[in-house]
Symmetry: C2
Amino acid sequence: MAIASKSVATDNIKAYMQDVGQRARVAARAMARAETAAKDTALAAIAAEMERSQGALLAANKKDLDAGKAAGLDAALLDRLELNATRIQAMAEGLRQIAALVDPVGEITDLKYRPSGIQVGRMRVPLGVIGIIYESRPNVTADAAGLCIKSGNASILRGGSEAIYSNRAIAACIQTGLKQAGLPADAVQVIETTDRAAVGELIILKSCVDVIVPRGGKSLIERISAEATIPVIKHLHGICHVYIDDKADLDKAIKIAFNAKTHRYGVCNAMETLLVAGGVAAKVLPVLGKMYQEKGVELRGCAATQKVLSGVKAATEDDWHTEYLAPILSIRVVENVDQAIEHIARYGSAHTDSIVTEDITRARRFLREVDSSSVMVNASTRFADGFEYGLGAEIGISTDKLHARGPVGLEGLTSVKYVVLGDGHVRK
Amino acid sequence: MAIASKSVATDNIKAYMQDVGQRARVAARAMARAETAAKDTALAAIAAEMERSQGALLAANKKDLDAGKAAGLDAALLDRLELNATRIQAMAEGLRQIAALVDPVGEITDLKYRPSGIQVGRMRVPLGVIGIIYESRPNVTADAAGLCIKSGNASILRGGSEAIYSNRAIAACIQTGLKQAGLPADAVQVIETTDRAAVGELIILKSCVDVIVPRGGKSLIERISAEATIPVIKHLHGICHVYIDDKADLDKAIKIAFNAKTHRYGVCNAMETLLVAGGVAAKVLPVLGKMYQEKGVELRGCAATQKVLSGVKAATEDDWHTEYLAPILSIRVVENVDQAIEHIARYGSAHTDSIVTEDITRARRFLREVDSSSVMVNASTRFADGFEYGLGAEIGISTDKLHARGPVGLEGLTSVKYVVLGDGHVRK
């Protein structure tokens, strides 16, 4: 699908991206200083402009959809690409929700007097310039811009080439809103070229970009992580487990295991492997197996699972490593909580894992020893989500350990600096 | 200086480092689970063993010193390399101080009920495996090992080749202490080869090492940052500023500006550039100039500085960019706080900058707008230090923005994960 770039000499992507980066760097200083009221005004103005521009947004989106159909994009992709009145309204509402969140920037915490007489605390500050690389959904343009504005960052947004007209139309609304609030237009820049070389340049713009946030499939994220010389906040994949302990309340266990798998299939916090203690497998698996089969979930199990459940394929070593993102579930009968923790350490992706048990000692061990970004007791893995956690919004879920881990909201787009207050104090 | 490696086939550094990495990865899981009491027992046992082994430590250190002298190391380097009874006592005391700190691991904060009924909080967890690369001072071996043990991490330590015998002797004490506490010997591994290829392997051991902390000169850190594929917590350099505002209390200003430059010269938090508001330059610079000159500090100034101070060389553009780490100071007269902030943004290294003023509005602006890891009001830049800030210990000062920033103590060697507690809760 070849969409001509609007105003960019594609033979000079490097210079274009450097210019974008330098503008972002300048805008970032103004954004870091921007008052909360100005940022909230901009968010409200962008939301209003998107509602006012519904016709233009739909027209631009139609161009993308027509090109997508002509290029033979599949139905799922076309669905992600589509804008309609409801979705435009949802984007505007999302921006207003971000405006309503508490501004994290400038918050001073832990300001304490030290024996020397100085006061030491920490102030939350923006990261600077954030590069966001995403795929076909145009609403990410509005969401990501909104989160970066509120957190006082400048952003460089690179959406999928199949959404270029939609993204440009949304970008126009963002520009109008920034202008109305007196904030720099370069605070949000949408890459104007569909040339893939622009991504390659963006992820090595060390002097201008502070962090890259890729949003999309595993292959996109792996490629970006491998090539980037800038830190990447990445979400690789979610191989999430539920472990049903032999001291579980079986009603809760069945509710949670069913919800974690079937509430939505294509999401990273869906359960992919069910672990069941040997002591309760014969009791709980037949009930659950029937529920899954009625729902159309394909089951793949270990030998012990196959003994208590008929019509279950044998799970292979590959199954334990697989994020299905589909109505497929692997099931393994384990001896006890130790073997469950071992299985998760070996095959999990450090995303989200849950134990179902009434035994507080085992619950405490699971919480302490499972090294995942979210660890749960008696709750569905589907709760691993920025909104459910009260972050108010989410730019992604990090499976990294450094900087941000788990759902990343406004705070994940900030850092802290130390502030020291004295009254002429010097070191002795 | 060629020191033969003890037990390592130097022709197979890659395999050796992979083995070290895998052992560390296994030990890291045990360390993450280790009880506070076991970690504190180990720290106390290492301290006692170092005191008991004073003779062996001094003998090993003598080998390094003799080799260093034979290789023509300069006096400053030999001083850094030297152990004596006082320094051994200081290492032991440092470990006891780390034992006395609160264990950060497992702390749960912000545990709150959400509208869905689940409780969501965050638990502090170790990073995993930390690779520390440092230069000649052998006490870093004990300090770094102590911080990593207390924070529940496994560590791989690579000291300077000139300190290899000292580091091995300290490593033997660490092994004894870990054993006495029932912790895995692989929790702290000191690299047994002086082959520089070991560093190259360590910084790309992605599957086994979670973060690299280089401690040393700028060239070491730049090289490691350029080549590492693992995240690096780095401290590049400190071009620290003091700005004397025209609303400063001049007594405080003189005390602070003198202390920040002359308390110690070779440290990263020493002031390298003094900025003075035009309105008070004629009043404050002659006093300060005299004090600096009596102390033997070479002054380099802008044209306005030269007008009010005789015997001052002209500062070049290079001076504003230079971390002298020496009794040299560059001085610039600026118009006001805006120009001071601009100067710091342009020439600073985002380490530590201080304003001297009685004006609260300017103080607030400086705190908010200067984007450095430590920003101060009416205090000497020399306070930028983990001990002064109450961290209890310090593995370095980070000039990065992601993950850790400013002095890095135990908390900087940890991450957090989300914990979710429910009672059979599922997503609606």
